[in-house]
Point group: C2
């Protein structure tokens, strides 16, 4: 941690940062609330103009009959899967081995809902049609995460999605979209959100990733499905007295950033190319398909902390704000492009990456 | 609803209101955030100064080793009961028939945790020692709600609490406090929060009732218990990316109002006496033991809507903002005293209640 703090500290002193939308401090909240007028009244237990209007907007965006705002994607997705399992009276679903549900939720799906997963595909690649047609066990629902975050944000082809959707409908298997980063993949697919969502029975979107709100999630589907989800939302303790601090900010930053996903995507491709041009640094995927990629350094975390701290200090450009240890010769970082990248003069970016390369050569 | 709106509308036009702290609009949030300085950084997944400081403050308040901030009491209490049930490997708990868990949570405790309740006492009175000593079934935990909200906010004597606590400890039964309104009962008991909480193994407090924050709850107990609760918080989807909008407001209004619970309690007693002096209006309990009571009108909801709307219009004092239909000759309202009562000139209060009495006599 002491060494990671050297990264965090030097990053904190940089003038420019490659990733993100900026600090997640209370200015994020205050800016959104400046736009709210005096007649504003908060939501109460899921009712009220502020929550209903935003839910309607998200239903339209996804092309679904209805949408419900949830405090978290963890809650929204467990509930979606529970409803589909209850429908089929079969407590089994299928998803990727690195799904959020499998590795970040303390087994909530199993412990609270008694639902067991069938893991599809190898860890290091996305789910393909054959993984689903080849399943030996029957499941109530297949969950696809687009893009697959834990492998740098990878995507199957759109044609594969269409085929998976058709197959699942044929077989009576519900298809759920973990679209935490749904908006972020639309420029690559060259599709609208509704054109992607029509392939799925239910869809979850995060409001604090690409959109950059404070917290929260949206679940969308049929009227009947959403009505049922509200019962489960209350059971989970997610039907909060007021969700408006999250909704006002979600709506404000959605309006600001939904149209900028193409810009973030182009930035990710440009930046990945710059990194890949040097030795000892590579990205996964090599060519990004959204605003994110994983950055791999062919040196230990300890070595890279020293090198990157120097790059930060000497160039004023923040490259990474933490580092993961992959093994004793490899370290990594998750890069997600947002508003900040376009504010950096291009020569400062190339200068920083050039210096990084030089230092890595010298450290050999 | 049309008729209830007549109440809501006329109430909305009054100059003074008997109940509450004021409108729950975005000024509640903005006022609290004015006090936040520029160096403020949000919490992230349960860590960070803003959440840790407030949790420490709540641990000290309750005299417990640790406290955790939850998005809701529904979530916090289900989790508390689950931990106690797992400890005893017995999925049974005991609580009042009108407990929040029994009537407001869509059976989350049963549906998510498989825990079944034993209902103690009759609906219209609080749980006494004999209800617990006379239980025929073994349970892992007894939950006491202080005050018992659905019967107007009633309390057992403090001596009874001490005896219940001793009995449960003797028998190896965990005792959990639904202290949604814990601060509100301290003036009646003439005890500190810690002096009440020491009788319980785990304690939940709401931050948006007497305190008047936006949303949120605190669960307190031993270090070990709280560590386990964090795992369940994540499983429930309650380990939100950022909880700071709720925590900043909770802390701000806690500091403002924790010391005013005695004032609210005195106001409740004074107001209940004024109501009880007239015919056709009565309070439960007759003498409040906290800042709340239930108001019963011996006329139908329809009749009372007409009468109360006139009182609102003629006096400028808001008496009730909705009405419940009890039966075709009785209607009711839950009165909770807060900041607004002390701002009303005393003669305006008596004038409004006098006019209410006159109109009720005339309507006979």
């Amino acid at each position: 941690m002491g060494e990671t703090n050297q990264i965090t500290e030097t990053y904190g002193r940089t003038v420019y940062q490659l990733a993100g939308h900026g600090k997640r401090n209370f200015a994020v909240l205050m800016e959104a609330f400046q736009a709210v007028d005096d007649s504003f009244e908060g939501d109460r237990y899921g009712t009220g103009k502020v929550i209903e209007d935003f839910q309607d907007k998200m239903a339209k965006l996804t092309g679904k009959e209805a949408a419900v705002f949830f405090p978290s994607g963890t809650m929204a997705q467990q509930i979606a899967l529970r409803i589909w399992c209850d429908e089929k009276r079969l407590k089994k679903v299928a998803y990727h081995p690195l799904s959020h549900l499998e590795i970040h939720e303390q087994d909530g799906l199993k412990e609270l809902h008694g639902i067991h997963p069938v893991l599809l595909a190898d860890k290091d690649r996305v789910i393909e049609l054959e993984d689903i047609t080849g399943m030996e066990e029957e499941v109530a629902c297949v969950l696809l995460e687009l893009p697959q975050r834990e492998i740098g944000g990878q995507l199957p082809s759109f044609e594969t999605l269409v085929k998976i959707s058709e197959y699942c409908r044929d077989k009576g298997i519900r298809l759920h979209l973990d679209g935490a980063r749904l908006l972020e993949i639309l420029p690559y697919y060259e599709k609208t959100a509704a054109e992607v969502c029509v392939l799925f029975d239910s869809v979850y979107i995060s409001v604090y990733k690409g959109i950059g709100g404070i917290t929260g999630a949206v679940l969308a589907g049929t009227e009947e499905f959403m009505a049922e989800s509200k019962v489960w939302k209350r059971r989970h303790g997610g039907d909060l007295f007021s969700l408006y601090p999250y909704i006002v900010t979600a709506d404000y930053y959605y309006e600001q950033r939904a149209g900028k996903m193409g810009e973030y995507y182009e930035a990710a491709k440009e930046l990945a190319e710059l990194f890949n041009a040097g030795e000892g640094v590579s990205t996964v995927p090599e060519t990004p398909v959204s605003n994110m990629f994983h950055l791999y350094f062919s040196k230990s975390k300890e070595q890279m902390i020293a090198i990157l701290a120097e790059v930060h200090e000497e160039t004023g450009v923040g490259v990474v704000h933490y580092l993961n240890e992959v093994d004793d010769q490899t370290s990594s970082y998750e890069m997600t492009l947002g508003d900040l990248y376009s504010a950096i003069p291009k020569e400062r970016v190339t200068q920083a990456i050039q210096l990084l390369n030089e230092k890595m050569q010298r450290a050999k």
